[in-house]
């Protein structure tokens, strides 16, 4: 269980968005309705498939950083689709992000869950160990959302520019 409150999440997400805008990145803050937790950070990118018969095919991945009420930590949800609009299921997603290692830790945390804001099944990195991981992350961070994205994102090819870490005022 983390110690991030919904208000903290919102504040830090907005700080993150500011950094992103300064750096010219394409993150946006989506607000669905007035039922909290209703707001999440969103961005998307294209990734080339790495293995199988569709290697080289482009896939569009949309990432959502959402607040987990039960774990009190940020959570990474994402959805990937092919050029015809069809979604990748869990197996295809696993294959894309973990072409080799079957015993990878990611196997344990990459799963499908209901999106807490959109109420639809999305791929997600399970939040059960996030609090622990965030605590192990060196000196306490002022922006857990930023730390979280930089720690968890790379597992699913979401890489932040180093410049995010250099925005001293927030980290």
């Amino acid at each position: 269980m983390g110690d991030l409150s919904w208000k903290d999440f919102l504040t830090q997400a907005k700080q993150f968005l500011e950094i992103s805008q300064k750096l010219g990145d394409n993150w946006v803050l989506e607000q669905k309705d007035s039922n909290e937790p209703n707001t999440y950070l969103k961005c998307s990118q294209k990734i080339k498939g790495q293995c199988g018969k569709n290697a080289g095919d482009l896939v569009s991945v949309e990432y959502h950083v959402v607040f987990s009420v039960s774990y009190q930590v940020p959570m990474l949800f994402f959805q990937a689709h092919r050029s015809d609009g069809s979604l990748l299921d869990v197996e295809a997603t696993w294959k894309m992000f973990m072409p080799e290692s079957k015993a990878s830790d990611l196997h344990q945390i990459l799963t499908q869950m209901d999106h807490p804001v959109l109420f639809r099944p999305y791929m997600a990195l399970h939040p059960c160990r996030t609090a622990e991981v965030l605590k192990q992350f060196g000196k306490p961070s002022c922006n857990q959302v930023l730390s979280f994205i930089s720690l968890y994102g790379p597992h699913v090819q979401l890489h932040l520019q180093n410049a995010y870490g250099l925005s001293q005022e927030y980290t």
Partner: protein
């Protein structure tokens, strides 16, 4: 300039990239607005020249908005969707003519100067589609029309912007260009007078034209410029015919992730032949997108997985099971579970609970058989019914349960049969004879059509016919019976024969092969002999501690799943530790385990001490339900035999020779007990 180093400039073709939201919105528009109309609809797409992958033209749900709102770092493309009503219309449409029509509209914009005011008209595309909304399938074909103009020859090598002389002046001039003008623009570079300016395309002028770089946001990640440059060049030459035969410099503006434009490319090209686009009658067009196989043809995508709620549920249910397979039990065979057809005799407390557990495991085919109506006492224990079902007064359990299962999981195939199970010793009157025969036929057929028979009724004698039919038709039979605070769950020994390994002999363990195991009627149904008072399981079945049925139902389904996962299925041997020989606990630890642990013959448990024991017992050669004598007689005489047993159970006892046996120990079989009569308000 010599012609040797001139090569024909090639373009990176557009690749359509569709967001699922584009299909969602199309379905919504078709259902709510367009209905039967198939008139064309204006749409917009977008493309980005920042950190571009491939050469993508993207569409999402915003495509249908009245005004284009391309996302950050993206530019708008102008399009049209022709969504046909039927697949036949989609197929029959004259594709060449459509391309010509669209191409002519493009030429009109080029010639009229409309494209000068709004250059996004040059990035024109259209989609021919058919949305099969029932199956959530979308047939579609993108086209990016382009007039077939004389080829452009590349002069010299392709250059990077940063490698040009004066590149820093160019770059600073380009940085001043507002984003919305970046799709098509002019870079005016007068080195002599040191004037470097990025200008709107609308300032196009034939004067000083050799000092201009014709810039465009280039979504291509390749060395070739994007397909849009083709229309751009045609448009420029149409506007400035003096460009024919002269070198023209094109600048493909490309941002990297950090928004640097250093890697933008410059192509110097020449078109030697003139071509008047206003004479559109002579112009040919190209632009249909190749499909995934590199052929001229449409594409099809099934969006069922993300658009059909039933499919969404099915996938989510399967996910839980698949996670079990992926993470914990890699060899778990989920296919066999979806394929196995289950027939439940009884849709009461046990039947409802078993059915729900079957759904949880991903079983798809569930049939229930019961003759009762939902009563007022039922809903609290029988978890597929509601109070309203009882109030209605005419809801039959079997059909109501089948319907509820379907409501819970729409992809389940369920059925309910309102049928009385004929029972030994329950005489069939003359008036009911025809109906009974009819019911028998249905029951026999149902057993035949299923793989697994669950015995979940509330009386002992109602289990006789299903036990016999299960044995006669070589089905897997799972039986659950309840006492006040005790339960018995067992798999019947199979009559199926198949060569294969027999069970291993293990010291301290008794091993009985699957075809030698007893059925419910082979054994005495007295609860395990321990210090507690013996209670027969059936006698008090209508008065049970509520948890008992849920426990028994869960064990029944788990036992079936363990059996299905065993390589020998119902032929799998059962082991049990023989008590009284010491070390029985040690021996119990040696029972061979299958995929999901051990596979016992029966589970007898008590709630009063929270204990289970797992006895395995042999087939009884004189069994009144599964012995060879009974099965042979049934096969020989069919209904006539069954009717004789319904007349009097004594017939069975004589047939099997059990009368003799009973004389010796009258405690074992207790068949004609009137207390077993099914009543209407029981827990069924």
């Amino acid at each position: 300039m010599s012609t040797e180093n001139e090569t024909i400039l090639q373009f990176a073709p557009w690749e359509s990239f569709v967001s699922p939201t584009f299909w969602h919105k199309l379905a919504e528009l078709k259902l709510d607005y367009d209905r039967l109309s198939d008139s064309k609809r204006s749409i917009t797409g977008h493309y980005t020249n920042r950190n571009a992958s491939g050469c993508l033209l993207e569409v999402d749900y915003t495509a249908y908005n009245r005004t284009a709102q391309p996302p950050k770092f993206s530019h708008a493309a102008i399009g049209t969707i022709y969504n046909k009503n039927t697949i036949e219309e989609f197929k029959a449409l004259d594709k060449l003519q459509l391309l010509v029509d669209e191409g002519k509209a493009l030429l009109a914009d080029m010639c009229s100067g409309a494209a000068l005011r709004d250059p996004s008209l040059l990035t024109r595309f259209f989609v021919l589609s058919f949305a099969d909304l029932k199956c959530h399938s979308y047939f579609y074909w993108f086209a990016f029309p382009c007039p077939l103009t004389p080829t452009l020859k590349l002069q010299g090598a392709v250059q990077k912007l940063r490698d040009l002389a004066n590149s820093s002046s160019y770059i600073s001039a380009l940085k001043s260009l507002p984003t919305e003008s970046q799709n098509f623009f002019i870079l005016y570079a007068n080195v002599e007078s040191n004037v470097f300016e990025a200008r709107n395309l609308s300032s196009l002028d034939e004067k000083d034209i050799e000092l201009c770089y014709f810039g465009f946001a280039d979504p291509s990640e390749y060395e070739h410029p994007a397909w849009i440059m083709r229309n751009y060049a045609a448009f420029l030459i149409q506007q400035c015919p003096s460009l024919v035969g002269k070198p023209i410099k094109f600048l493909g503006l490309r941002h990297n992730q950090q928004m640097s434009i250093d890697d933008s490319l410059v192509w110097q090209v020449i078109q030697t032949e003139a071509c008047d686009l206003s004479q559109s009658g002579d112009i040919k067009f190209v632009g249909w997108e190749l499909n995934k196989n590199g052929k001229m043809g449409p594409r099809m995508v099934s969006m069922r997985d993300s658009m059909d709620p039933a499919k969404l549920a099915e996938n989510s249910v399967n996910l839980n099971l698949k996670l079990m397979k992926w993470r914990l039990v890699p060899d778990l065979n989920l296919e066999i579970i979806t394929e196995t057809k289950c027939l439940l005799f009884g849709a009461g407390t046990l039947g409802c609970a078993v059915a729900r557990n079957l759904l949880s495991w991903g079983f798809k085919h569930i049939t229930l058989l019961d003759s009762g109506k939902v009563g007022f006492s039922n809903p609290v224990r029988q978890n597929l019914y509601m109070h309203a079902d009882a109030v209605a007064g005419n809801r039959m359990k079997a059909t109501t349960a089948a319907q509820r299962l379907k409501e819970i999981n729409p992809s389940a195939e369920t059925a309910g049969y309102v049928l009385e199970i004929p029972m030994p010793g329950h005489t069939v009157g003359e008036s009911l004879l025809a109906q009974t025969k009819e019911h028998l036929k249905v029951i026999e057929q149902l057993v035949q059509d299923h793989d697994v028979i669950f015995l979940l009724t509330d009386s002992r004698e109602s289990r006789w016919l299903p036990t016999l039919l299960g044995a006669a038709k070589e089905k897997i039979v799972i039986n659950a019976a309840l006492g006040f605070d005790s339960y018995l769950v067992m798999r019947h020994g199979t009559t199926r024969t198949e060569a294969g390994d027999v069970g291993q002999e293990i010291e301290g363990l008794k091993c009985i092969n699957g075809d030698q195991l007893g059925c419910y009627f082979c054994n005495d149904v007295t609860a395990p002999g321990n210090s507690l008072k013996d209670r027969t399981l059936d006698q008090q079945c209508t008065v049970t501690r509520p948890g008992v049925s849920n426990i028994a139902a869960s064990y029944a389904v788990e036992l079936l799943v363990a059996l299905l996962q065993h390589p020998r299925k119902e032929l799998a041997p059962a082991y049990y530790a023989q008590s009284g020989r010491g070390k029985s606990e040690e021996a119990a630890g040696k029972v061979p385990e299958g995929l999901l642990g051990i596979l016992p013959h029966s589970i007898r448990g008590m709630l009063c001490n929270y204990e289970n024991i797992l006895p395995a017992t042999q087939k009884f050669a004189q069994c009144i339900a599964c012995s060879a004598a009974v099965l042979d007689q049934y096969k020989k005489e069919g209904h006539a035999f069954l009717l004789k047993t319904f007349e009097t159970a004594k017939y069975l006892e004589d047939l099997t020779g059990i009368s003799e046996f009973k004389r010796l120990n009258s405690e074992i079989i207790d068949f004609d007990d009137e207390e077993f009569d099914m009543s209407d308000d029981d827990e069924n």
